[in-house]
């Protein structure tokens, strides 16, 4: 295994191999790291993707409504709700959901025990609780951002111009408020996506979901440095990638940047 070589040498050769896509073998379990990560990455991706798709449109819509009609009953309700969800760590939300839906009602499994050969798709019910947990936190966060941005735009001079042109409120919102409020909202969300990645790690651990997050924790628990390195690197790369994508999207959306 080359353990007799100098640690720095080993590290460098690991980087070299990693660059070629070969992450080596875990000294603890003897299994191929590539394979472990490769098996779990799609699961994590699936979880993140669904949570995103569920959370983002709903929270944006709610946040926009709350921003246009601040201090309405719905706004107050959403504010309090989002405050609660943001304040409670994901693992607690997860545990509470587990308590309600799994222990008491027995509708959903509390942890993801997969037999070899089974995939997520064959047991979709294991996705529900983790997704609910992540969505809850994301929802609250996006809601607050969207609401604040919309409120700020509603105070702007160009919205005043639009209103004083005699345009119906709905059109003012669609054409003047939304385009200008959504851009900074999406940017801030994109910049803070890293925090969602952290949440993913915890949630996977709570529900024993077979993704890279729980793999990371396993590596830490077993002090498996090589596995830890590799997994951390993979997670960090995906994160960097998504940030880049967000920057590009922002550049496309903002006409000032597009047309200089």
């Amino acid at each position: 295994m080359g353990l007799d070589r100098h640690p720095v040498e080993r590290y460098i050769s690991w980087i070299g191999n990693a660059a070629q896509g070969d992450l080596g073998v875990s000294p603890r379990s003897g299994a191929s790291i590539n394979e472990m990560i490769g098996r779990r990455l799609p699961n994590s991706a699936l979880l993140a993707f669904i949570a995103f798709v569920v959370a983002v449109p709903t929270s944006l819509a709610a946040g926009i409504f709350a921003g246009i009609y601040p201090d309405s009953r719905l706004d107050r309700f959403l504010s309090i709700g989002s405050l609660l969800t943001i304040s409670v760590p994901e693992f607690i939300i997860g545990v509470i959901l587990m308590l309600v839906f799994s222990s008491k009602l027995g509708w959903l499994p509390s942890s993801t025990i997969m037999l070899p050969g089974e995939t997520i798709m064959s047991k979709p019910e294991v996705l529900v609780l983790p997704i609910l947990t992540i969505t809850g936190a994301l929802f609250a966060y996006i809601l607050r951002m969207a609401r604040a941005n919309v409120m700020e735009v509603m105070e702007s001079n160009y919205v005043r111009t639009a209103v004083l042109k005699g345009i119906p409120m709905r059109q003012v919102v669609m054409k003047h408020v939304l385009p200008n409020a959504l851009i900074p909202t999406i940017t801030v969300i994109a910049n803070n996506v890293g925090w969602m990645f952290g949440g993913l790690i915890v949630v996977e651990f709570v529900f024993a979901y077979p993704g890279v997050g729980s793999l990371l924790i396993m590596a830490i628990d077993t002090r498996d440095m090589r596995l830890l390195q590799s997994t951390a690197m993979v997670i960090a790369s995906v994160y960097a990638f998504s940030n880049l994508a967000a920057d590009l999207a922002y550049g496309l959306l903002n006409p000032r940047i597009r047309y200089g």
Partner: protein, 311 residues
Amino acid sequence: MTSLQSVRNTSSSVLTSLTVKGISKLLAFFSIASKTTSGRIGLFIVLIHFLLAVFGSFITPYSPTAFGAENLQHRLEGPTFAHPFGTDHFGRDVLSRVIAGARSIVWISVIGTTLGIFLGTVVGITSGYLGGWIDQISMRFMDWLLSFPSLLLALLLITIGAERFDIDESWLIIMVIGIAFMPNNSRVIRSASLTVKPLEFVQNARLRGEPLYYIVFREILPNVLPVIGVEATLRLSFALLLTASLGFLGLGVQPPTPDWGLMVSDGREFLSMAPWVALSPALAMGSLVIGVNLLADGIRQALQLPEVRSE
């Protein structure tokens, strides 16, 4: 007067003036915080937790860490008058454990946040004011740190730290929080100080030939303080969440010291038969963070700062 006496006089007068200043600043803080309803509720909750953290060990009805045969007879009992939060799987009184657990999480989060704010302020204001390559380099370094999701960064730093250095894990977590939060803090504070820098009174200070430290501390800093204050309360809530998450993952304070995160994790096993074991610390955790968030909102509203943070 001997020199010893004069030294004592000066130091006591300095101490008195600092204490007087400190108390008046604290009172000012309380008055701002209590201006709005959310601020008042938040302040109330936070104060309770804070007091528990300081004086908790004196008021626990039972020992939070006792481990004996007698305890084991009372395992997993539900909430009763004797044990308002029930007992856990080792027969320990859950209420006592929750009260005792306040200390570690509050202290670690507060000190860690302070460290992060301090580092972020120093870096943010100085590099924002000086500009040029100093600014470029520090911001690039911050960007690099930011390229890791914060929990991931924390996990990595803890693992490496625990391996290489032999420090008390509380201090490790404090340092990790400080480092993990420094980049975001420095960016926010830097952009706030960049809005202050072109203001004419700062330029006037340059015209008076004021040295750098004067401009940074007497001209810029006081005007950036409100931003720092709000940032601090926000970061505190993140720090609490992070500390609890680390505890939950088993990387926080080690047993037998009670840790809320770890308590929740341990309680998962008994969720169906004795939910109070996991729920009590969860409740305590949630209420604290809600309190901090309400306080932050209250202060922000009282000082009429914009809700949106750029970046």
